[in-house]
Amino acid sequence: MTALLEVKDLKVRVEDNEILHGLSLTVNPGEIHAIMGPNGSGKSTLSHVIAGKPGYEVTGGEILFRGEDLLEMSPDERAAKGVFLAFQYPVEIPGVATMNFLRTALNAQRKARGESEFSTPDFLKKVREVAARLNIPQEMLRRGVNVGFSGGEKKRNEILQMALFEPAVCILDEMDSGLDIDALRVAADGVNALRSPERAMVVITHYQRLLNYIVPDFVHVMSKGRVVKSGGKELALELEASGYAQFEDAA
C-alpha cells in the first residue's frame, strides 16, 4: 500500500538555521497522527513545508504524497491534490468576501483536477449545509475573509473550508491556540465529523488537551527538529504528566 503522506529524512533550513534535521513520518489513509513538542521544536515548520510556504529551503530528504514528489508542486497544486493546512493564525483579507473566496478556491481546485466547476446554486447549497453543521451564521460568510472574526470563528472558518474542499490529508496547526473550551469543542466536533477511512489528519499541538477531543491513533514527540519518540495515544498522557524536558535532553 502506498502511504498517503510520507516524509523521509527531511532537512529544512531558514536562512542560516537548520530547523528540521532529518524528520521522518508516514501517514496512511484513515489515520490520525498527533505531533507534539515544545515551542521551537519545528512543528509549524513541518506544516509550512508540507503546504509549500515560501521562505524554507529543503536541503535534504523528500515528501511524497501518494508516491508523488510534493516538494515539486506549487502550493495550489498541493491543495488541488488534497493537501490542506488549517492555519494556526488564519489571515484576514479585507475586501474579499468569504463566499467569493470559497467559491473561487473550490472551483480552482476542481478545475485543476479536471472536474467541472460548481454552479452557483449547488455551491450555495453545499456551503449552507456545512456552515449550519459548524454553527457558522450566514452573516459571517458575507464579511471579508476572517475580517472581524473572533479566534474561534477563524478556526471554524478553517474547518468549514476543510469540509468544503474534502482534502485527503489535513494538517491542523495548533488548532487549539487562542480557543476557550467551548470553542475548542465546536472545532473538534467539526474535525471529528470529517474523519473517514480515506482521510488522514496530522494534528499539531503543544498541549495534550486537544487530544481529548480529537483522539489520535499515533502520537509523535518532536524536539529540536526531529521525531524523538512515537507511540499510541497514551504517549500524550505520559507527556502531560512528565513534560517535554526529558526529550529535550534526549535530543
Binding site: 503546504a51 509549500g52 506549487s74 502550493p75 495550489d76 483579507i93 475586501g95 467569493n100 473550490l106
Partner: protein, 441 residues
Amino acid sequence: MNVVVAKTETGRAMSDALAIARDRLAGTGKVADYRRQAFDAYAREGLPHRRIEDWKYTDLRALMREVLPLAPAPDAPALTRAGSALKLHAIAGARRLVLVDGVFAPKLSELGDPEKGLGIRTLREVLEAGDAGLHTQLFAPDNSNPMVALNSAMMTDGMVIDVADGAVLTEPLHIVHIASGGTPAAMVTRSMLRLGKDSGATLVESYIAADGAKAYQAHDSLIVSIGNHARLDHVRLVEDGRDAFNISSAVVTLGAHAHFNTFGMTSGANVSRYQATIAFAGEGSRVETNGVNLLNGRQHADTTLFLDHAVPRCDSREVFRAVVDDRGHSVFQGRIIVRPKAQKTDAKMMTRALLLSDDAEADNKPELEIFADDVTCGHGATTGALDESLLFYLRARGLSEKEAQALLIQAFVGEAIESIANDTLRELAISAAQRWLEARG
C-alpha cells in the same frame, strides 16, 4: 494636412497649424478669436515639460513629442469599425452619445425622445450658432494650462448637455469616445454639462478604440456646472488602445448644497493625464472623487486633481488607488486649497499604491494649502507590495499565483470602486477592472 501641430525642438509650423485646420473648426467671429487666443497661449508654451512643476512627472515633450494632425471626419468603414468596438462597452438603459475620431456620430447615438428637461446639442452646432453667453462658458477654462489651451483652439466637436431645473434624469448619459484607427491622428473634443438647480444626472465617459487603432491622441475636456441642490454621478473609464495618448481636462463648479460623486479608472492608453479642477462656489456641498489606475507594460497614467474650497461648509473626499505592474508609472497629484473664507471645510485625501514589480513606479504628490483656521483636513499615502502572507493563504487554498493576485488586487481597488453610488456604474467599473486583470493572464 499631414502637418504636426507642435514640434518639440523647433515649434515649427505652429502658427500655420490653426490655419490649416481651420476648415474643420466650427465657429466664426468671436469664436474664431477665442480659438486664436487659445492657440497663441498654447504656441507660447508648447507641450508641457518636466521643468513645469505641475508636469514634473508627466513630461509630454519627452513622452508625446508632437501633437498629431486632426483626424479626418469618420467615413462609413470607420463608423462600422467604431460600431463594433462599441458593443463591449454599451450600457443597458443608458442614452448613448458617440464621438468617433472627435466627431459626433448620430447613427451610433441615441438622440430621439429625450427625457423631460434634457437638452442635447453638439459642440459644433453650438459654436456655429450665435449664443455669445454660451460661447463664453465654453471658452472659460484657463488657457494658462497649455493642454487646455490647445483643446480650446482645436476642439472639433463634443456634446453640450443641459438638464433643466428640477429634472432628475433616470437614464445615464453615456459619452463614448472611439478612435476608429484609420491613421495615427489627434481627436480634440470638448463637452459641457449644465445641471439646473434641484436636478440630477448620471454621466459616464468611455474612451475606447476600434481594433487596430494605432498611436492616436485623444485630447478631451469637460466643463460641468452643478446647480444648487443638484447632484451629478460621474464615471470615466479610460480604456484606450495601448499605444494611445489620452490628455483630458475637467473643470467642475458646484453651487450650494450640491453633490458630485465622481470616479475615474485608467486601464488603457500608453500615456494619459487627467487633470480636473473642482471648485465649490456655494456652501454645504459635497464631492467624492475617487480613482483607480491599473497599469502594466510601460503605461504612464497621471491623475492631477485640484479641489478648490472657496466657500464655507463643504466636504471633499478623495480616495485613489494605483496598481502598477512591469515598468508602469502611476502619478497622483492632489492639491487642496482652503481659502480664507472656507471655514468648516472638511477635506480628506487618501492614496495607496500597490507595486507588483521592482520596476513599477508610483509618484504621489499631495499638497494642502489651508488659509482658514476652523477646518478638518487630512491626507495619507502608502505604497507597498502585495502581502505575502495573504498570497500564501490563497494559494494554499488552491488559487494559482495570478488568481490569488487578482483577488487581492480586486479587493485593493474595490475600496475606491465601492464609493460609486449607482449599482450599474459600480458593476461597469468592476467589469473594466476585471478586463484588465484577465488581460494580465
